[in-house]
């Protein structure tokens, strides 16, 4: 790097970093913290936060239970079949959330086969907490699979071979060697999935406009109703995101 090149780099990069940082800082500087805390006790805000937290927690647990075994299998199976499955797992990550909501609506919506079937036995898969969970799981669970897959792949297969050569079966080996070594990655994946579920907006708008989650409430605030309630919710979401960043490091 000649000095000029370094300068150009740092100026360009600096603009980008400011573009990320300034708006977020503006959020925290715009309202006195006291006001935000007062607004947080608004019962409708509490209800919205509760819906988001419960939904995101369920989604994360479902993603972990279904996803971690899959990612272990994917990490140890090196075949064309497994790389197709990885492609399918990554698909929801690159799919726009609004499209995710739309395709889910075509399966679980009021006029869709599964949606009608579920409604017939008294379970409503749209405009319900279940709808929220369905949307959040679709969008967030791939984070658990992809991050755990990377974590499992980072565990040297030689260590598993060594454990088995020492007389330990595959289950013991996975529990005592592979899982402990992959755990930081799995936790990171869960944190990412939780944050993604908390922030889910596009798919939720289509699948479950009600009960309101935090992002939906922010949108409603901006489209006219109770702008002030958007601030504590936005700050809460930023804090969850920052907490995830901290977990990731």
């Amino acid at each position: 790097l000649s000095p000029d090149w370094l300068t150009v780099t740092l100026v360009l990069g600096g603009v980008l970093v400011c573009y990320y940082l300034v708006p977020v800082a503006a959020l925290f500087l715009s309202v006195p913290l006291g006001d935000v805390i007062v607004q947080m006790s608004d019962p409708s805000v509490v209800q919205v936060v509760a819906t988001s937290l419960v939904g995101a927690t369920i989604s994360t647990v479902v993603a972990t239970v279904f996803g971690v075994p899959l990612s272990y299998w994917l990490s140890r199976e090196q075949s064309r079949r497994s790389s197709i499955i990885v492609g399918i797992v990554v698909l929801p990550l690159v799919l726009p959330p609004i499209v995710s909501g739309m395709v889910l609506h075509m399966v679980f919506g009021p006029s869709a086969p599964i949606g009608r079937l579920a409604a017939a036995v008294g379970v409503q898969t749209w405009r319900s907490l279940l709808g929220v969970v369905l949307a959040q799981t679709f969008v967030a669970s791939p984070f658990v699979v992809v991050t755990s897959l990377a974590a499992f792949s980072g565990v040297d297969p030689t260590l598993e071979a060594a454990s088995r050569s020492l007389g330990k079966g595959r289950l013991t080996t996975v529990y005592r060697i592979t899982l402990p070594l992959a755990m930081p990655g799995i936790v990171a994946g869960m944190a990412l999935a939780f944050a993604r579920a908390m922030g889910e907006f596009g798919a939720t708008m289509i699948m479950a406009y009600h009960p309101e989650t935090m992002p939906v409430r922010i949108w409603l605030a901006f489209s006219g109703r109770g702008v002030d309630t958007a601030f504590p919710i936005a700050i809460l979401l930023v804090l969850v995101s920052v907490a995830v960043l901290v977990v990731l490091n």
Binding site: T158, L159, A161, A162, S163, L166, G167, R170, P180, L181
Partner: protein, 339 residues
């Protein structure tokens, strides 16, 4: 007793075998260059790589179809494969069956000091000793080692080589020790199997193997660099580039084309001019100091290929040799080996 019967496998487009080997309660070194299939062989015996054919049996029990954990065979990986989230002690305890006196093992391998250290902080030699203790804690029926000394510095390597030999002698189980280092193989083993491109070329005691290689490949890989073409002249003589010399012919057919070899350290320099048919005149074309000895390349008058010889610095100093110097060398009949 560990027996391999026509064992075959293919791994990463590399074909191993068929291999037949019997390992008694002894140390068998498997010696070969990298890429010769040494590690694949160990992995197949341990059950980490599946065999494509043939059989592995340990003390009469067939292991071929068993998973690694049910084979009673432990593989010590090249870098030790210690579990990084455990201390040295936890690594050893993980493997311990309960029946073994771990303490004695820890003492023998001088691990007392490092037991509670994170394994990531151990030196290469310490890692290898922990890996060995961990493997022996399972009281295995057979022990497989993959280049345990490969990544160590020369002085540690030298010490550990001798310690390993003593330890192996105290175990009475079949031990297979893979290495690409001929000195490691010679020091550590009772017998050596030379492997190349997935095939076993020769199995013999170290002294036999180094003195009497059966093929030019084994000769070159055991440092037997002087290999020449010759013809059987009569019942006790070899014709080499027009000169006849005494050699152990062992009843081969007269007129047959053969190769013979002699190790560089078995070629001696003679000072007096004699009529001995095994003494040849030549010129030193190159003389290289190697630390504890000198390597000389000698161009003989009668032959095209040069002869390499090794002299101790004591002998070298006494003879006052130098490049371009004339000299006479003797190929002692006892050390000539016909392939």
């Amino acid at each position: 007793m560990l027996e391999l019967t026509t064992l075959r496998t293919s791994y990463d487009a590399f074909d191993l075998g068929p291999i037949d080997l019997t390992v008694e309660n002894e140390v068998l070194a498997v010696l070969g260059p990298s890429g010769s299939g040494k590690t694949t062989l160990l992995s197949t015996i341990a059950g980490i790589v599946d065999a494509d054919g043939g059989m592995v049996t340990l003390n009469g029990t067939e292991l071929t179809e068993r998973p690694p954990e049910d084979r009673d065979v432990v593989l010590v990986f090249q870098d030790g494969a210690l579990f990084p989230h455990m201390t040295a002690r936890e690594n050893i305890n993980y493997a311990a069956t309960g029946a073994t006196p771990i303490d004695a093992l820890i003492e023998t391998l001088e691990l007392t000091e490092v037991l509670d250290r994170n394994v990531e902080t151990l030196s290469g030699g310490e890692r290898q000793r922990v890996a060995l203790a961990r493997s022996l804690a399972t009281e295995p029926g057979a022990l497989l080692l993959d280049e345990p000394l490969a990544n160590l510095d020369a002085p540690i390597r030298h010490r550990l080589r001798h310690e390993l030999r003593d330890l192996f002698v105290s175990l009475t189980i079949p031990i297979v020790y893979v290495t690409h280092n001929q000195r490691d193989a010679a020091v550590v083993s009772d017998r050596i199997a030379v492997i190349h491109d997935g095939d076993v070329h020769q199995v013999d005691t170290p002294t036999e193997l180094f003195a009497h290689p059966e093929t030019p490949l084994v000769a070159s890989f055991t440092g037997n660099v002087n290999v020449f073409r010759a013809r059987i002249a009569d019942h006790d003589r070899l014709e080499w580039s027009g000169r006849r010399m005494c050699a152990p012919i062992d009843g081969r057919d007269v007129g047959q084309s053969v190769q013979f070899c002699i190790r560089p350290e078995h070629v001696s320099v003679v000072q007096s001019s004699t009529n001995n048919p095994n003494v040849f005149a030549g010129t030193v074309t190159k003389s290289v100091f190697q630390g504890s000895s000198y390597n000389l390349t000698v161009q003989l008058k009668h032959a095209t290929d040069p002869v390499r010889l090794t002299l101790s610095s004591r002998t070298y100093d006494r003879l006052e040799l130098a490049e371009q110097e004339q000299l006479r060398i003797k190929l002692n009949t006892n050390y000539i080996h016909i392939i």
